[in-house]
């Protein structure tokens, strides 16, 4: 089975040092130019198989949203390649990218910011259809929009209303409809339920899963909510400070986590009716992606750290079970 999307060795760094004049610094009597670079994504290699849901989990600031946006072509990667069904797409200009725009779509986190407040639902949903199919007639576009609206559970009667007249859950439905309306194969969903209430989260997750079933969609699902990820994913990648620490099938990852960070993360999930205090205690704080540790990104907080972890970045190690782990300890058989 060939992958629908291949991410190979991708780096995404942001230069936040500002204009040239801001970069100049006076040190020891000399003027030097200093750049501040946020290393949001580092050496990420992933492949997404057709029809699966690959989830990326990690704490805030680990680069998971940046990765999704890089995949979607919103950011250009500094290094590495992104291929869609074997064709490289990371270096295309906006015109050459157009055919892929109908195949790859995105759902955003904040249902309040992701819909243009000055456009009504009909305008929001018709715009992508009309843009990609200029020869469709008005009635055809209308029919397509109504069909998608029905599918996501928003009554087409409300099409002339503006986003602020809807609740958060309904807005997220509209946001999903906007992605579905161009009939994509692949959807990157960036924390699509994080801003919603518990009872609405289940509705949106069901909607996403139904759409996947009916349309044969492939998802790249970004989330920090591990119990949701466990339920919805085929495979899960755990990210920490821009690096992937572990990639495994959802079942394998949640029943048998290998990487010390995955173990800590899983133990910290609050369990219904559980007792608190059983979690792995991590020392220290998450370092900023501006000053990455020289070795393993997790070395500063890892309970199994040794000299080598501080010096050398661990390579991705493929285990017998099929999981991929980046950890010296596992490679050496210490953990």
């Amino acid at each position: 089975m060939s992958a629908i999307l291949e991410i190979h060795d991708v780096d995404k760094h942001f230069d936040i040092s500002g204009s040239f004049l801001d970069q100049l610094q006076l040190s020891k009597g000399k003027i030097t130019r200093k750049r501040t670079v946020v290393k949001a994504v580092n050496n990420v290699t992933l492949d997404i198989q057709p029809g699966e849901t690959l989830s990326i989990v990690g704490e805030s600031g680990c680069g998971k949203s940046t990765l999704a946006r890089t995949v979607m072509g919103l950011y250009k990667p500094n290094k590495g390649t992104i291929s869609y069904r074997g064709d490289r797409i990371d270096h295309l200009n906006s015109v050459k990218m157009l055919p892929y725009r109908t195949k790859m779509q995105m759902v955003f986190q904040d249902p309040y910011a992701s819909l243009n407040p000055r456009m009504n639902v009909r305008q929001i949903l018709e715009e992508p259809v009309r843009f990609h199919n200029p020869d469709l007639s008005r009635s055809e576009i209308k029919a397509r929009v109504s069909e998608v609206m029905l599918q996501v559970g928003v009554d087409p009667v409300w099409a002339s209303n503006y986003p602020h007249e809807f609740s958060g859950g309904q807005r997220q439905r509209i946001s999903i409809a906007r992605a579905l309306v161009v009939d994509p194969e692949f959807i990157a969903a960036d924390e699509p339920i994080a801003a919603l209430d518990v009872s609405i989260q289940a509705q949106i997750l069901n909607l996403l899963m139904d759409a996947q079933e009916q349309r044969g969609l492939t998802y790249l699902f970004i989330s920090h909510d591990l119990s949701v990820v466990e339920h919805i994913s085929t495979r899960v990648a755990v990210m920490y400070l821009g690096c992937i620490c572990e990639l495994a099938t959802a079942k394998e990852l949640f029943s048998n986590p290998k990487h010390p960070y995955t173990q800590a993360l899983l133990s910290a999930i609050p369990r219904l009716g559980g007792k608190i205090g059983g979690h792995v205690r991590l020392s220290g704080d998450v370092p900023t992606p501006i000053n990455l540790p020289s070795g393993c990104a997790f070395s500063g907080r890892c309970p199994h750290v040794n000299e080598r972890c501080m010096q050398e970045i661990p390579a991705q190690l493929k285990l017998e079970s099929g999981s991929v782990v980046a950890c010296h300890g596992i490679e050496e058989g210490r953990i």
Partner: protein, 305 residues
């Protein structure tokens, strides 16, 4: 399904407006002033532009309720024998025309520059430095400079014809950076929002994203500064006219009327200066009061701090 009118009737804007007596009063006065000034050719008792109806013998007549006044000229006459009321109405029309025209020009240039420098990062530095340079010239300096050149080029007679568009261009060019900065600031805030990213994921071109998605969301601050800018432009025009660089006395604006009357204020003909002055002040005042309401309505955070 609701029509636009129904939406407007139920809108928070109308509700808020009806709750604010200052805003209502200002709006009524402004509407009255604008109406009378533009209906001046119909409702004004005399035509101050028609020299055949002006009699120099009527010059400096006092208002009707004072000794020496005539019921024909309610607010008296000026030094050339023109009816003050009619001249003021025509003058206000010129003032409003220049004010609104200049603001339209400012907004046009400012919005284009602001959008470009906010959305196309490469242009940002150049355009904003250019705006800074423009701001460092004072409006009056630019106006005096251009005005002097044009007056010598066209001569006094020719100047009459080009005065209105010229003042619009001068005041418009001098103040556009206000708009450019406001628009740029709100473009910078809007472009980070997810709906802009969603538009990019759809594949829309930059120009389309700028015009169709970002621009409509930056218009509320533009509306807020527009009210203040109209008042400012009218004031600028009045000031320039007062300096003798604005409207000629044959086609007076409120500013040039005030100047014209200034020479006679000590000879007792106070009304030539005072009435246009009061009219100008009340016009500016109601515009600013209405502008305050618009600002508070569109940006309630200002109050809550």
């Amino acid at each position: 399904m609701r029509t636009r009118w129904q939406r407007f009737k139920q809108s928070y804007m109308l509700y808020n407006f009806l709750r604010d007596p200052v805003a209502i009063t200002s709006f009524i006065i402004l509407a009255f002033l604008v109406f009378t000034s533009f209906a001046a050719p119909i409702i004004a008792p005399h035509d101050p532009y028609d020299s055949s109806t002006i009699d120099i013998m009527d010059a400096q007549m006092a208002p009707a309720w004072i000794d020496g006044g005539s019921s024909e000229f309610l607010l008296g006459t000026d030094a050339q024998g023109r009816d003050m009321l009619s001249t003021m109405l025509y003058g206000m029309r010129v003032s409003i025309l220049i004010g609104v025209g200049a603001v339209c020009l400012q907004a046009f240039i400012g919005i284009i520059v602001g959008l470009l420098s906010g959305y196309v990062r490469r242009l940002d530095n150049i355009l904003m430095r250019f705006a800074d340079v423009q701001l460092s010239f004072s409006t009056y300096m630019v106006a005096i400079f251009i005005g002097a050149i044009v007056q010598t080029m066209f001569g006094v007679a020719g100047y009459d014809r080009v005065a209105v568009p010229l003042l619009i261009v001068i005041i418009g060019l001098a103040e556009w950076p206000q708009y450019a900065r406001t628009v740029r600031a709100s473009v910078l805030a809007e472009r980070k929002k997810e709906y802009v990213e969603a538009a990019r994921v759809i594949g829309l071109s930059r120009i389309r994203i700028m015009l169709r998605h970002i621009l409509p969301n930056t218009l509320s601050p533009v509306l807020v500064i527009s009210t203040v800018q109209v008042a400012n432009a009218i004031m600028s025009e009045a000031a320039l006219s007062f300096l003798g660089l604005g409207m000629p006395i044959t086609k007076p604006s409120l500013g040039s009327l005030i100047t014209a009357g200034f020479e006679y204020i000590f000879s007792g003909s106070w009304w030539i200066t005072i009435f246009p002055g009061i009219l100008l002040v009340s016009l500016i005042l109601v515009i600013n009061l209405l502008g305050d309401w618009v600002r508070d309505f569109l940006n309630p955070k200002l109050y809550k701090g």
